[in-house]
């Protein structure tokens, strides 16, 4: 029975000891230890979170880069295509223009040639006419200077011109 009867003294000292121990340990041990553990856990959590964020940023960056690269590539493609088209168009345009110009030149040349030709022909005609006149003048002059011949001619012509 003695064993299960609590002593007043021990009750008192246990209570006092426990309260003193609780207050003291709380101050000198639990608070600093738990504080250190908590702040360490906090810093680990933060480090992990920031690592995760950095990883995500990295991923974003990579996707961004890829996107930009893709866009750049597409742009280059487009530009090249445009350039090609432009080149073809320019060549075609140039060809057309050249053709038009050439045609025009040819037409002009032809008309000029035509005009020149006409002028030349007209000139030639005039020259021929004047030459013919001169020749005719000379011939007539010469013919007329020789009386015998004139007579002969008249005679011949008269001989030919048989009166029917």
């Amino acid at each position: 029975m003695d064993l299960v009867t609590p002593d007043v003294g021990l009750l008192f000292w246990t209570f006092l000891s426990f309260i003193v121990l609780l207050v003291t340990l709380r101050m000198v041990a639990w608070k600093p230890m738990l504080g250190a553990v908590n702040s360490r856990e906090q810093s680990i959590r933060e480090a992990l979170a920031s690592a995760e964020a950095a990883k995500r940023d990295m991923e974003n960056l990579t996707t961004d880069n890829e996107r930009i690269l893709k866009e750049a590539r597409a742009e280059r493609e487009a530009m090249m295509k445009e350039a090609r088209e432009m080149k073809t168009k320019m060549i075609a345009d140039a060809k057309d223009e050249a053709k038009v110009a050439a045609d025009k030149m040819i037409t002009n040349a032809q008309s000029a040639i035509e005009t020149e030709k006409k002028a030349a022909i007209a000139e030639l005609k005039n020259q021929v006419a004047s030459l013919s006149l001169e020749i005719a003048e000379k011939v007539v002059k010469a013919e007329l200077s020789d009386k015998d011949k004139q007579l002969k001619l008249v005679k011949d012509m008269l001989g030919e011109a048989t009166l029917n």
């Binding site: 064993l3 609590p6 002593d7 007043v8 230890m33």
Partner: protein, 366 residues
């Protein structure tokens, strides 16, 4: 090689068993009643109970012990003297006179000499030990109180030192490497799962102090030499105080739901509610009482077993009995190392559980 070792161990155990069975002295477990030579029950009882001086050993028939201060609150006020003034007497024979009052010590209780239940000089002797004699209130620094103070010093040293062993980055060094996992264990395995993430911080210092206070006193009780070996955590007063503290905390932090679940259990038919209310109400008290008895009984039982095994040597009165006695008591002591840690853990765990259940918020009726 291994098999031979195993066989050796097996034959040893078998041999011990046969010695136990064959030896009539042990098998009959005689109670040497009135034997002045060696009384096992007295020895064990004396060990597991409190004492006013710290007995270290007997040398040449003379007890060597550390005297401890006796502090008494008597009818005439406070009286203090050293326990050595009783001259190791525990039979109520030696009378100490202080402040005009006379005291005797009988079975580690201090009585007024005129009220002592037994003893040669007792002026009013009575027959029974259980006589309700008038006693002064005894606030002595007894063996257990001394042991408790020692455990406080050790705890403050261990954990005060641990708290200083953190470097600037909060990384533990030295002893903190050992103590921190224990602290974190109590936090993560006891406080948080039972009390919950929201409230556990308020009770963590209490739970930590409780766990380490019980554990260190349990372990100190297992160490069989001065200044340890006191059976503090196997004393009902010690466990009673701790259980009461848990009870008081549980009762004070309890919310409306807790009381509702005790007196008017929701979700049950009315007759069941009426039937359950007294049971639940008793449960409020049974919980801390079970805490108290569990720790007290486990630790006391451990001490009794180890001492009984050692006593086998004296019961058998043969040096050969020392072999099984020592083997068994070492075996039990090793188990006890586990048991004392588990008991400290269980006490803390259940305290956390009771506190947690008192604060639990029931979101739905069940």
């Amino acid at each position: 090689m291994k098999t031979t070792n195993f066989n050796l161990i097996r034959s040893l155990i078998l041999g011990v068993f046969f010695i136990l069975v064959a030896n009539p002295a042990i098998a009959a477990s005689p109670e040497p009643e009135g034997d002045s030579e060696f009384n096992v029950t007295d020895m064990i009882m004396h060990h597991i109970k409190d004492a006013h001086d710290f007995h270290i050993m007997d040398w040449d028939g003379h007890a060597i012990s550390i005297p401890l201060p006796v502090i008494l609150w008597t009818n005439n006020g406070l009286v203090t003297f050293m326990s050595s003034e009783f001259q190791h007497d525990d039979t109520g024979t030696v009378v100490v006179e202080k402040n005009g009052q006379r005291f005797v010590k009988y079975h580690e209780e201090i009585y007024y000499a005129s009220e002592a239940p037994h003893g040669a000089t007792a002026e009013k002797p009575s027959e029974g030990v259980h006589h309700e004699a008038e006693k002064p209130l005894d606030f002595s620094i007894t063996k257990l109180v001394f042991s408790m103070f020692l455990s406080m010093v050790l705890l403050l040293l261990i954990f005060g030192l641990s708290a200083r062993k953190y470097d600037a980055n909060g990384v533990p060094k030295g002893i903190a490497k050992f103590t921190e996992p224990l602290v974190v264990f109590i936090r993560d395995e006891v406080a948080i799962p039972n009390i919950g993430e929201k409230n556990y911080k308020r009770f963590l210092p209490f739970l930590l102090t409780l766990f380490f206070f019980i554990w260190i006193n349990n372990v100190m009780g297992l160490i069989p030499f001065f200044p340890f070996s006191a059976n503090l955590s196997g004393n009902i007063a010690f466990t009673l105080v701790l259980a009461i503290i848990t009870f008081v905390i549980t009762t004070f932090v309890a919310n409306k739901d807790y009381w509702k679940h005790i007196f008017w259990m929701p979700g049950l038919p009315v007759p069941m509610k009426i039937f359950l209310a007294p049971i639940e109400f008793m449960g409020i008290f049974i919980k801390p009482i079970s805490l108290m008895i569990r720790l007290f009984a486990n630790i006391t039982a451990g001490h009794i077993i180890v001492l009984s095994l050692i006593s086998l040597i004296f019961i058998a009165q043969s040096e050969w009995a020392a072999i099984p006695a020592v083997v068994f008591s070492v075996f039990i002591s090793i188990i006890e190392v586990l048991v004392v840690a588990i008991q400290a853990y269980i006490f803390t765990l259940l305290s956390a559980l009771y506190i947690g259940s008192a604060m639990e918020e029931h979101e739905h009726e069940h």
